[in-house]
């Protein structure tokens, strides 16, 4: 893979954004990162169990997509879903409590890290079986087209999901039926721990788009405004022409695949190089160099965010476990009386 140049100039999409929106995006990305760091600490303390997949390094995508979205659009995510939730506006307390398996969690403690759902905030999953949400997202788009509700469905998947059958079938149907859906492959360069050269037949994942009759786009992640711009074009296509798009965003995750992954498969110097192009760091630089903010001001924002996440930790820790009877809830919906 190509290692980024530490001394490359700042991305234009970032430098041309206004101060307020840059500050807001900076804060949102920071929220995701600090949330996950807090979660990682909770995991080491045994407060969280099971799988915990971190999004650290990829925050700009979730934040950028949100910038491009309209109110009724949907995000369908993978099991690496904390970032989408927070970017979509889910409550950090509820998100943290879900990780702790508490009654106050986003889905009442039944889902955990991999199964976030927050319908009022446009988060439609939370899918932990690789690729099986690809046709489901096509189904949401099918319904949008059927009902004419003008909503666009954005479906995220990892580079590891492109080989599995449901991905292929879902994209086939999205292309066949011209569904208003955008598939966003977040290529973080590792399927789990195996480099992509060993798992992908072609380097360019979007090459497949031709076979599905879809438009395509592929770019190296720089910042949220870049994502807004590129996704925005696909959204217009979906909303106005009911056409799907396959997008590949090249990114990098700074952490292992999950908490139990030491990430020993990385080459030397690779992590450092990517860290230097971290969108949060770049935004920080722009805010200081271009918008005249001081280090103290930005640190104060960071402190606020840390405080918010510490509060979320305490909230989650002190929340009650679900009621024992809760395990029988939401399995069958009673059949309504016929009119």
């Amino acid at each position: 893979m190509e290692i980024p140049d530490k001394n490359a100039p700042l991305p234009e999409t970032l430098t041309s954004a206004g101060k307020d929106e840059t500050l807001k995006a900076f804060r949102e990305m920071l929220r995701i990162r600090r949330f996950e760091e807090t979660a990682a600490r909770a995991y080491t303390r045994g407060k969280i169990s099971g799988f915990l997949h971190l999004y650290i390094g990829q925050e700009a995508i979730a934040v950028g997509v949100k910038l491009a979205m309209q109110a009724n659009d949907r995000v369908v995510g993978t099991y690496r879903d904390h970032g989408y939730a927070l970017a979509q506006g889910s409550d950090a307390n509820a998100c943290m409590a879900e990780l702790f398996g508490k009654a106050t969690g986003l889905v009442g403690g039944v889902g955990g890290s991999m199964h976030y759902f927050d319908r009022p905030n446009g988060l439609w999953g939370g899918y932990a079986i690789i690729g099986n949400h690809v046709p489901v997202a096509a189904g949401h788009a099918f319904a949008s087209k059927y009902l004419g509700d003008d909503a666009v469905t954005m479906c995220f998947l990892g580079d590891g999901a492109v080989g599995i059958g449901p991905t292929h079938e879902g994209m086939t149907l999205a292309g066949l039926w011209d569904l208003p859906v955008i598939y966003i492959v977040e290529n973080n360069r590792y399927s789990m721990g195996t480099p992509l050269e060993r798992t992908l037949p072609t380097e360019d994942i979007t090459a497949r788009a031709a076979g599905y009759g879809m438009a395509r786009d592929r770019f190296e992640l720089t910042d949220p405004f870049q994502v807004r711009e590129r996704i925005g074009a696909a959204m217009k296509r979906a909303r106005e022409e009911s056409q799907p798009t396959l997008i590949e965003i090249l990114t990098y995750r700074f952490r292992g695949h999950s908490m139990s992954d030491p990430a020993k498969y990385r080459a030397k110097g690779e992590l450092e190089a990517f860290r230097s192009r971290d969108a949060i760091e770049l935004s920080r630089r722009v805010l200081m160099e271009q918008h005249g903010m001081s280090e103290d001001e930005l640190d104060a924002i960071d402190d606020e965010v840390i405080e918010e996440m510490d509060a979320a930790y305490t909230f989650a820790d002190e929340s009650p476990q679900p009621d024992p009877e809760h395990r029988f809830k939401n399995i069958m919906i009673p059949v309504p009386e016929e009119a």
Binding site: G139, Y146, G165, P166
Partner: protein, 325 residues
């Protein structure tokens, strides 16, 4: 009363529900242009158009997932499997999405969807096309599972399934699509979860469903000639199970035989045996007998296949056995 084939009863159920509710649509292989692999959707494309009668490529996991995704938004999909054997490639969609989403999302989403199609062995299709999925789907919490054997039941239950707010697996039978029966002209619904006594009797309870219903009725006739009075209960719904109907009958007759298409290991038959022994132990006069497939993959050869499928004589023999005849 109209005299209809099961395929016509199914078609009428779908047509009436599509007329009644704009959100209902039919999706599957060959359902539109070809009018249905078994002609269950004859005329629907003409009536409702391509938007609501959707032909798909061979992508079971794809269109099952699309159905689920559409249901989550608020549509009422009917997904037709050309046969349930092909549902195996969509199994993950049913197991991990359809059955779990309402629970996994803390009740934020529901999946009102029907997966329907022919199930179990037909005639000389070999092992991959001769499987009964009753036990596999009835095993999964979050699903309802229906199996029909008459045009009347097929129509009434399919209409209920389409209106049900939960995912419903709806089993039909390839060899029974042409079975005829009386179906009322006026609208009716049969609630999911209610068994039907297809033949009342006093001495042996014969529990059955799907393709084994006519076979069991024949077996009951053989027994009648022998002076053995058999009660035939058609479960109609495999999940939730009409436990009360079964136990009530077993307490009366003290004997039970279960006849069905399906493998013996685990499954609905085994589930019934468990409930009977637990809930009617002190009423049993004989061990519960099961008549079902051999515990093997099916063979193509006609004689071998015939031996593996419950025949009236097999079921009759089991009735005699539990009655100590």
């Amino acid at each position: 009363m109209a005299n209809l084939q099961i395929r016509e009863a199914i078609r009428d159920a779908m047509r009436e529900e599509m007329e009644r509710d704009e959100r209902v649509f039919l999706m599957g292989e060959e359902v539109g242009h070809y009018q249905g692999a078994y002609k269950c959707s004859q005329g629907l494309l003409e009536q409702f158009g391509a938007k609501r009668v959707v032909d798909t490529p061979i992508t079971e996991t794809g269109f099952s997932g699309v159905g689920i995704g559409a249901a989550m938004v608020g549509l009422r999909p009917i997904i037709e499997f050309m046969t349930f054997n092909f549902s195996a490639v969509a199994f993950d969609q049913i197991l991990n999405n359809a059955s779990k989403i309402h629970h996994m999302t803390g009740g934020q989403f529901s999946v009102p969807i029907v997966f329907r199609g022919p199930n179990a062995a037909a005639h000389m299709l070999g092992s991959t096309h001769s499987q009964a999925f009753d036990g596999i789907y009835a095993h999964i919490p979050g699903l309802k599972v229906v199996s029909v054997a008459t045009p009347y039941d097929a129509k009434g239950l399919l209409k209920s399934a389409i209106r049900d707010p939960n995912p419903v697996i709806f089993f039909e039978s390839e060899l029974m699509y042409a079975v005829r029966g009386e179906v009322p002209e006026e609208e009716y619904l049969i609630p999911i979860g209610e068994a039907d006594i297809k033949r009342p009797g006093e001495q042996v309870t014969l529990i059955t469903w799907g393709q084994s219903v006519p076979t069991s009725l024949e077996a009951a006739k053989l027994a009648e000639a022998d002076g053995l009075d058999v009660e035939v209960i058609d479960l109609r719904t495999l999940r939730p199970l009409d436990e009360a109907a079964v136990i009530h009958s077993v307490k009366k007759t003290n004997r039970a035989v279960i006849a069905y298409h399906g493998w013996p290991y685990g499954g609905v038959g085994a589930e019934l045996v468990d409930r009977i022994q637990r809930m009617a132990f002190d009423w049993l006069d004989a061990p519960v007998e099961r008549v079902c497939y051999d515990d093997i993959p099916f063979s193509y050869a006609e004689n071998l296949e015939h031996l593996s499928i419950p025949q009236p004589e097999d079921i009759y023999a089991a009735c005699r056995k539990v009655a100590y005849r």
